[in-house]
Amino acid sequence: MILSEQKPFEEILGYLEGEKSVFILGCNGCAQSSGSGGPVQVEEMKKKLEEAGKKITGTKVIDFLCEKALVKSGLRGKVDEVAAADSILVMTCGIGVQAVAASVNKICHPACNTVNLGGSRGEWKGSERCQECGQCLLDYTGGICPITACTKSLVSGACGGASNGKCEISPDRDCGWELIYNRLKAKNQLDKLKIFIDPLDHSKLMARPEMMSTSRYALEQSDQEGR
């Protein structure tokens, strides 16, 4: 289970600037139970975007966008609608956005921020994909997460350490920023490399206050409240 929340609508509209048509993808898994990307939210998003002047070529809610095979099979009947869109708006966690961006040769915009769950991780195993940073950057990086794909979690681009496309830490590990570069190039989005990204807000990477409460904390609270 992963928790996500919708990004502010203005931020999403900013991602869609210069684009006329969008295909909306939702997720029947965690995003549905988070109330950020299930069938209800996809319908709401469709209406809001149409009001904002965007053409919605189609929508689809798939069970578990974090699984690439399910993304591909789920979109099988929607090929024309996806092809007709300038981009896909993916209403789910950071893992799902990355799975769609890796599976479909279309620009994929994140509609949600994945927030800290206090430990557990989502599906699409193999490597870490999402640190639940609460400030999803996937729109700037071609749908590959710089926080997990770059060993240093750099937001401003590659460091000088890579050799032959591999990270200085191990010849086994790809340079995350070279993956991002190649993805941006494939999707004709290299201009994204010029966008300045503010330092991360690390307070959003922490578990939410209510999740930091321990039983001891609860006991102290009840004590103070005279219960």
């Binding site: 190039k185 010029k194 503010d198």
Partner: protein, 293 residues
Amino acid sequence: MSLQSKLESGKFAITCEVGPLKGTDITEVEENAELLKDKVDAANVTDQQSSVMRLGSLVTSSIILKKGLEPIYQVVCRDRNRIALQSDLLSAWVMGIRNVLSITGDLPQLGDHPAAKAVYDLDSVTLLQTIKTLNDGHDLAGNELQGKPAFFPGAVVKVESDTEASMELQVAKLERKIAAGARFIQTQAVYDAGIFGKFMKRVEKFKVPILAGIIPLRSPAAARFMNKNVSGVRVPDELIEKMENVPKEDRVQTGIEIAADIIKQVKPLCQGVHIMAIGQEKRVPDIIQAAGL
């Protein structure tokens, strides 16, 4: 003349490197400062280089400044968060330090404390932005400073990369660094003036002074080591052969001659050289003399 006035008036500048050692003995740092102070415009003081713990770059910058050698205070983002970085920058200004070089920093796993927590709260670009913010009289949270610095910030770049992606990312990041306030650039070691010339053509539009990095070769083995392990450094085979073909006792001298030769070739292409002698600081004056600077 300060490094800033020299570069801003379009003159050719020479910088070198002073590496703090592990421990409290500052004899060598002071000797090197004494030796280099009238030979170079400024000296970089490395900050926990290669993730190996040493005496700090802030205090070492202050030591060489007192000895009469202008420091370029190197700051890496690996070991401190934005609170400590901003505080250290303010301290540096109060101590009389004017030049700051912003670096992301190697991973701790490559150094002598591999279990250390890597910070990277900021990176080389956002640290430059931070310096600009401090220069404007505010901290990163937007609070007003009581007394503000006027740092001369710099950054680094690799001129050579082994993949297209890496090269394009370097140029894109250089552009970001300059947009974030970098006013001088030092490069990774250059051994091929042809490749350096091509790089300079690509980045001349940025109109920021660039100092070519020079590392004098010590031995063929050291050259091969760099080719294998240092990203962005490629010593051509003919230079390695040249080192191999001289008797062992002459190799240091040959290394100096090769360095001087590269300096002569890159001089018309850029606005300065940055000589990284790595433990051979005492030979820097010989290199400068051999290059006719």
